[in-house]
Amino acid sequence: MTNIAETKNTDAGQTLEVNFGPQHPSTHGVFRMTVQLEGEKIRGLKPVFGYLHRNHEQIAENLPYAAIMPYTDRLDYVNALSNNFGYALTIEKLAAIEVPERAEYIRVIMAELARIVNHVAVIGFMLNDLGAFFTPLLYAFRERERILDLFEEVTGSRLMNNYFRFGGVKRDLTGQNLAAIRKIVSRFPAFLKEFEALLTKNEILCMRCQNIGILSAEAATNAGITGPVLRASGVNYDIRKVDGYSIYNRFDFKIPLGQKGDVYDRFYVRLLEIRESLKILDQALAAIPTGEIMNKKSLPMLKMPRNLKPPAGEAYGRVESPKGELGFYVVSDGTPQPWRYHVRAPSLINLTLLEEMCLGQKIADAIIILGSIDIVLGETDR
């Protein structure tokens, strides 16, 4: 796990260069950091990427647009539905495909459920890194399992959903599915109350997480950091409110903001965002109309994916994934395959300021800071 590479004599003392190797239980995947330590304090940190590089962008250049959808599931594999959403939005922008009402409501319901799934898992894993050995994680996973069972009933798979299509969604939500979602939404507040009683005022958590890894708002804006990390530093920027994509401007929800930008704020912002997602789910479930789930003109495209030839041009579509701004940049040249396909991955860009946040902290804090930024290697390395 940790390799002693070399020791250097500096004026301040000796620094030891240590490898937080790609195999490490707390780096959320195959992620490597080379850390220069002086005792326990960090004097330098360099992240090394590429251990999960699967060349997603070049694979997509040889596939028709619809066949790329299962590959986008595997980018941010914790919540695959947000990636599907971003990709479907981009291609609908490129090819000017409209989405019927019921499909929009289903998409928002699924995207918010994916947000809950992700935040609950992230809080659990961050607490795992802190040393609360699996208790909060498994409490969180008990609730997450109910949502994943629902995903299995609707989309066919717990994690790799492949559910969204251009112009709608693949399968309709039956009355039974809607009842199951209502049951999940009605049970969640009780679980959140218990979770907060366990965590929020816990002295160990407060002492270990407050004033650690502080990120200022200007540094965050300049470094392109988005998502809960940005909002914990106090910047009010949520793409659901700014762009108002899909039908998000019909729902009434607040954006939780932090004050200090430390690890505790990032954890608490995510907890509050789960509450806001539950509010959106309540409103969406109350207002979901009947109707078709797929644009009539693009129904035949399901059987013949190669017939989708968007006009030559480019599109940049972005969604508020639970980790930040997930953007897709697609250039089409009139053929069924894209000419250039790029994913703007929030996990990679949120790591720009990892060194600044960790300098001067102890090595145990570096792990918590990494856990609070919430990366997933499928997205970072694509």
Binding site: N162, R171, A197, N202, I204, C206, L302, K303, P305
Partner: protein, 184 residues
């Protein structure tokens, strides 16, 4: 209360409550929800999609697949390999002679089921697929992939009934179109 340590005590109370009630509550309400696999199984969900299988009506000779090759083309990781059967004179007989799916590549996306125009390939529920080695063992041939329509109806009743109704309606239309015209 602002006693130092009160947060930890509240947390300990939560874990104690969860521990004690796990003995009494039902699995769905906070009790023990471990399923002792493989003696117990979870309930099978109809829409679960895992590896594909081919459907035949009645006998394995009446396979619905005509070896058109559309699923082979549309499969994103290109895990299907099809060869058309040639009858005695070298003309294509609309049946596959070879239908291999490489389970090491298949990513269970379901695109083959989406694009098949002849309702012949569907996603199965089988996930206990093992082989002693990777290269030859995980390539499944036509014989293992063929399953009867009754199996399809058993594992996915709703989808199977829609397909059966569609096929029956198409049959009736064909019979009506080719029936001998009565006296006008």
């Amino acid at each position: 209360m602002t006693v130092f340590g009160w947060g930890i005590l509240k947390g300990l109370w939560v874990t104690l409550k969860n521990f004690l009630t796990s003995y009494f509550r039902k699995p769905d309400e906070g009790g023990i929800f471990t399923v002792q696999y493989p003696e117990e199984r979870e309930k099978e969900i109809e829409n679960f999609r895992n590896f594909p299988f081919l459907v035949y009506d009645g006998t394995p000779e009446k396979i619905r697949c005509v070896a058109c090759g559309i699923c082979e083309r549309e499969c994103p990781p290109k895990c299907i390999h099809i060869e058309m059967e040639l009858d005695g004179t070298g003309k294509p007989a609309r049946k596959p002679a070879v239908f291999d799916i490489d389970h090491a590549l298949c990513m269970n996306c379901g695109m083959c089921e989406d694009v098949c125009p002849f309702d012949s390939i569907f996603m199965d529920h089988v996930f206990e697929v093992t082989a002693p080695e990777r290269a030859e063992g995980l390539v499944r041939h036509k014989e293992t992939l063929l399953k009867p329509n009754e199996y399809f109806q058993k594992i996915r009743p709703v989808a199977a009934s829609i397909i059966d109704q569609k096929r029956k309606a198409a049959e009736e239309k064909k019979k009506a179109a080719s029936a001998p015209q009565g006296p006008q």
